[in-house]
């Protein structure tokens, strides 16, 4: 379990510590407040640490491996011109620090770099052990429609797509899960397949289809929102998600209508309930309310932490965190909705009565 993430002079953050909950972590903020950066920073550290376990074939972490792997991962996930560009923009030279603390302290991992760093980071503290579980990162966009050939193209050419897309695409291609876990998987898939009106299939040519009772529809012809739902359904069906340790999901609501957001909210809790530590970034009031309703009903046993990112008048980002949505300060989406009510009433008040 990731216990905390400390970001100092990293992208938009001057100095912020996120104390994460065991199950579900909800990061709320308007565009430009750094939500995705929080997810990506934690994902990079965890992807490197879990990848190290595989690359070292049972060996212990070494600083030289971590320094190269972290620098590459940051470059490929954030896509800056140079690593130093990830430092917070301010006058003069600046040192950025990122540190992850885990419940297993031997996995604690931190790194730093300068504004002038081209492609290197300094690892401190260096872990004594790798994290055992792999993280999954779901980007805002669906990937099923670009899946055929995407991974091989990514590996053989220089594409300007974030590496999170490639990492997730690899998982989408995994075979369907069989055996003892199948019932649990069916339970998780049921609300998603109900919302999609069918099941997701992958043919031998690497093309995805939505199979309904009456037909088999090419994924390109399926609505974008449903494709996104199909992506999470596929990750569940293959077991790729459930044997992982962490899910990072950036704006789960993007491109979805409220009916589907309702199903997604349930899936988020079900995945968290399966023992996966979930991190979502959102600015959807509708999703937040669905999560609130579920949290106060059947998922009250799920440990949840909420984080509000606020852009100050000087552009600096401050973080407020707590156990509920009421602990994280103003929620821009709520304030905007209330202000819209005021604007609407002004319109009504000034218009002649019908």
């Amino acid at each position: 379990m990731l216990k905390s993430l400390h970001l100092k002079n990293f992208t938009v953050f001057a100095d912020a510590t996120f104390d994460f909950g065991k199950h579900l972590n909800i990061i709320v903020g308007e565009n430009g407040s750094g939500k995705s950066h929080v997810l990506k920073a934690a994902y990079c550290v965890m992807a490197v640490s879990s990848g190290g376990a595989k690359d070292s074939v049972g060996g212990n972490p070494t600083k030289s491996y971590l320094q190269t792997a972290l620098a590459n991962k940051l470059r490929d996930v954030f896509k800056p011109d140079s690593i130093g560009r990830l430092a917070r923009r301010q006058a003069g030279r600046n040192r950025s620090e990122v540190a992850c603390q885990f419940d297993k302290t031997s996995c604690n991992l931190g790194f730093s770099f300068n504004t002038s760093s081209k492609s290197e980071v300094v690892v401190e503290p260096s872990p004594d052990a790798w994290i055992g579980a792999v993280p999954v990162y779901l980007p805002t966009r669906e990937l099923l429609s670009i899946f055929p050939g995407f991974v091989s193209l990514y590996e053989t050419t220089h594409l300007q797509f974030e590496e999170t897309w490639r990492d997730t695409a690899i998982l989408l291609g995994a075979p369907l899960a069989k055996g003892g876990r199948a019932k649990h998987i069916r339970d998780l898939l049921q609300p998603l397949e109900e919302a999609m009106g069918g099941t997701v299939e992958l043919d031998e040519a690497g093309r995805f289809y939505l199979k309904t009772k009456t037909s088999r529809i090419e994924i390109h012809l399926v609505a974008e929102g449903l494709r996104k739902l199909a992506m999470i359904a596929r990750l569940i069906a293959t077991g790729s998600l459930l044997d992982k340790g962490y899910l990072f999901w950036d704006e789960p609501e993007a491109n979805l209508n409220p009916k589907i957001v309702k199903a997604v909210a349930r899936t988020i809790f079900q995945v968290a309930q399966s023992g996966i530590q979930v991190f979502i970034a959102t600015h959807s009031l509708f999703l937040l309310r669905e999560l609130y309703i579920l949290q106060n009903q059947e998922f009250s046993h799920i440990n949840t932490r909420c984080f509000g990112l606020h852009i100050g008048s000087d552009g600096a980002i401050s973080v407020q965190q707590g156990a509920t949505m009421d602990d994280i300060g103003d929620i821009t989406a709520l304030d905007e909705e209330l202000q819209q009510s005021d604007r609407y009433l002004n319109t009504e008040n000034n218009a002649p009565l019908p």
């Binding site: 309310r289 949505m325 009421d326 602990d327 300060g329 103003d330 929620i331 709520l334 304030d335 909705e337 209330l338 009510s341 005021d342 609407y344 009433l345 002004n346 009504e348 008040n349 009565l353 019908p354």
Partner: protein, 173 residues
């Protein structure tokens, strides 16, 4: 049963409750409201002796009266400020013994629980997109944020949906 009337709405409280219109208090009107650069107050105070619970109740009826452009402050901020100022006023009223409302203030400040209720009758709307001008859950969530240390579960009620508050409300034309 004790009854109070404000903004076209009559509230009838359970027997044994001690209720008052705070903004009719001489202490509030003549002395406290103008102190500290100005104070506001909620409409009703209702004290439930049995549960030692003090309800601070604000009523707004926008069925007939519009919010005006002079309302420079938002509805939710106005409610929160009224709650805050009323609590300050109650304490001042309790300490100052030279007025008739002192005994009431002294009794209700023995409360072990503070509750806030905002009764709002919505303005009429003519749009399908805005069936109701304000969503009750929006107002409630905003008040929860603003009032958490005072009452983490403020009620937002209306005649059609009183959410099981312990009193009855009726409309008067």
């Amino acid at each position: 049963m004790p009854t109070l009337y404000e903004a076209n709405i009559t509230c009838t409280f359970p027997d044994g409750w001690e209720v008052t219109k705070y903004d009719d208090w001489a202490f509030y009107r003549n002395r406290f409201s103008s102190s500290c650069c100005g104070n506001k107050g909620v409409d009703f105070l209702a004290y439930d002796h049995e549960n030692r619970t003090l309800w601070l109740i604000e009523l707004k009826d926008y069925r007939q009266f519009q919010r005006t452009k002079d309302d420079t402050i938002s509805l939710w901020d106005e409610v929160a400020i009224k709650v805050r100022d009323t609590l300050a006023g109650l304490f001042a009223a309790k300490v100052d013994r030279a007025h008739e409302d002192q005994p009431y203030a002294a009794r209700v400040l023995k409360a072990t629980k503070l509750r806030v209720a905002f009764h709002m009758e919505q303005p009429r709307t003519h749009s399908k997109l805005f069936r109701r001008a304000y969503k009750r859950e929006d107002i409630r969530q905003k008040l929860r944020q603003l009032l958490k240390p005072i009452d983490p579960h403020p009620r937002v009620v209306e005649l059609a949906s009183m959410d099981a508050v312990p009193w009855i409300a009726d409309s008067h034309p």
